[in-house]
Amino acid sequence: MKELLFRNARVIDVARNIDAVGDIGVADGVIAEPSHLRDPEVIDLSGKVLSPGFIDLHVHLRQPGNTDAETIATGTLAAAAGGFTAIVAMPNTKPAADNPGAIELLRRTAADQGAVRVFPCGCMTKGGEGKEMAGIGSLKSAGVVALSDDGRCIQDHALMRHVVEYARSFRLPILDHCEESTLAAGGVMHEGKWSVLLGFNGMAGTAEELIVARDIMLAREIGWKIHIQHISTRESIELVRIARRRGILVSAEATPHHLTLTDECIKKFDTNFKMNPPLRSESDRQALIAAVADGTVTAIATDHAPHTETAKQVEFDHAPFGIIGLETAFPLCFTELVAGGVIALPQLIAKFTTGPAEILGLHDCDLAPGRRADLTVVDPAAEYVIDRNEFRSKARNTPFDGRRVKGRVEMTVVGGRIVYRR
């Protein structure tokens, strides 16, 4: 493997409190002192930023079951193009990843065809159906880093309690999609002013808030980590904020689309704005931005959910939920939060690196010599227009086509190899 020497980069290594211009060397797949390199390829990164590789806690790779929309190969290429060196693969594939065999298949396929690291995630319950606990211990042995029923939510609180308690004994964090089923039933968008004006059935914010509250109570009682996926309402955020102040082991992630779009977008009836949880009101969006700023939200995760054109080109009510997000996450968040003056770049980098790492219980998200060489290079000065035809993903279901953004991923390095370069 070729040695690499990155020169003159603004190195942002949040874990070790570094934000300075310097050089970083890579040899044999790990980070090396520049002086130890013999004959590296020299890459000048003047004006660019280098950080540990981004981690996405929430990606749907659709393999097995819906490979028309995405595969492990194309999904990881998309991740690389988005600056991600590691992704957590959601288990709601068909069949669901609720058993060691499925996890092993994912690990092998990813090792063979994946462009970036794929962390498997196992189901909490069999089939993700919310009725019977899955073989959590066996899933741990097979290599899952976390548990989730994403897409659905355990409605039986007694069962959820058992799952959290049992997961604790295996030190597996829970990633929960919080949705109380009766308050959101039949809904296709946020229940609020716009669902009323447009005549759509709404998904009430309280559907998320009730389950967030449940999860906080369980995390407190059991003393284990529950991570709230794609948090979206003002009230949910306030509950998490108070819980964290009390020392309860609850964390939350925000998606780039919830940070940049609102329910008013639905008036165009474009199914590329339909996802679950839905786009919320402007007030919720502002609360989410404030939560990123004050540390209530410690991770940004895309909930990358590919769908074929055919699947999405139907009546709004009938369209599946979900949009892709790997290749637009960084520029959207940079434009909204850093260029928008809400937080500084190192804080944003933390949401893509140390924040997700901590949730997974990883402690190696830095650029110390000897660390696995997973690196992301971005250009904070670049301005461009998002063009979905350039995506590496198989899918095109994005609401951001044609949007002007600032901040661009330049290069992604996984295990010392360049997997994406502009």
Binding site: K193, V196, G199, F200, K268, F269, T310, E315, F316, D317
Partner: protein, 308 residues
């Protein structure tokens, strides 16, 4: 003022001037149905497809008659007989229809935005005959026509809409049309069916019948049904009739020349008593007559739109 839209999807999209233009055009078409020969050759040689994915009798018959009086050739398609049942997507179905070189599609669907969705993909014009709870522009236009004909204007009138506003496309389209033409709009009914969010666009929200109809110039009653989608929202039609049904005593609270309207079909004894339905304030049957004129005008304008 000239018309330049290939589709009529929602009154939300139109300006007040465009709405008035349709009503002015409809005035002339109303006269056609009063002549000996109730037909004009305006759409002769044009093919109109009535694509009713959500079934309907009254609206479809009204559109069909309007199309016949414009001398158009008509095809009727219902969901039960269409290829949607066989798993063909909506987009593929309408593309197949367009491949037959039709000029206009009049479509009703049970979900919001379906017509807006297909109109983007079709070269021929699309007239929305109802899309879920979102929009029913021709119904609102005929309601506006009726009010304007009787009262001479819309601006400044106090109009109250009573019923299940939450699930009603008739209510939504009427609200947009009335606001754009300068009326004062109040919506009233059970609090579970009349969301406060309408206040954000300048509509008064009311849950007390007497307050809602006091000094009203026009009262528009929506059909209420205790069915699958509304069962959890209110206890029974009996209770609804008690608190929101219009009878002769309620009429006394309105202006003496107030109009009582209803999109039909009426539930005698629920939204209104038989006495009120047949009484001097009711213009319910005139709405039906006006519906024909308005639909003729809409079809004429949309068909005559300049092709890009």
């Amino acid at each position: 003022m000239e018309w330049n839209r290939k589709d009529l999807l929602s009154l939300y999209d139109l300006s007040g001037a465009e709405i008035e233009f349709i009503l002015d055009t409809a005035e002339e078409f109303k006269k056609v149905s009063q002549r000996r020969v109730k037909k004009v050759p305006a759409l002769r040689g044009k093919t109109v497809v009535n694509f009713f994915v959500e079934p309907s009798t009254r609206t479809r018959v009204s559109f069909e008659l309007a199309e016949q009086r414009l001398s158009a050739d008509i095809i009727n398609m219902q969901a039960q007989t269409s290829s949607l049942l066989k798993g063909e997507t909506l987009l593929d179905t309408v593309r197949n229809i367009e491949a037959l070189q039709v000029d206009l599609v009049v479509m009703r669907h049970s979900t919001p935005g379906a017509q807006a969705f297909i109109a983007k993909h079709l070269k021929c014009g699309v007239v929305n005959a109802g899309d879920g709870a979102h929009s029913h522009p021709t119904q609102a236009l005929l309601d506006l026509f009726t009010i304007r004909e009787k009262k001479g204007r819309i601006a400044g009138l106090k109009v109250t809409i009573i019923g299940d506003i939450l699930h009603s496309r008739v209510a939504r389209s009427n609200i947009w049309g009335l606001l754009k033409l300068g009326a004062e709009v109040t919506v009233a009914g059970p609090s579970t069916l009349v969301p406060r969010e309408f206040e954000s666009i300048g509509v008064k929200v009311c849950h007390d019948l007497k307050t809602a109809v006091a000094d009203a110039d026009v009262v528009n009653l929506l059909r209420i049904q205790h069915e699958r989608q509304t069962i959890g929202f209110f206890p029974s039609t009996g209770e609804y009739a008690r608190f929101f049904g219009i009878n002769s005593d309620t009429v006394k609270l309105m202006r003496p020349d107030a109009l009582i309207m209803h999109p039909g079909p009426i539930n005698r004894g629920v939204e209104l008593t038989g006495e009120v339905a047949d009484g001097p304030n009711s213009v319910i049957l005139e709405q039906v007559t006006n519906g024909l004129a308005v639909r003729m005008a809409v079809l004429f304008l949309v068909a005559g739109c300049v092709k890009k």
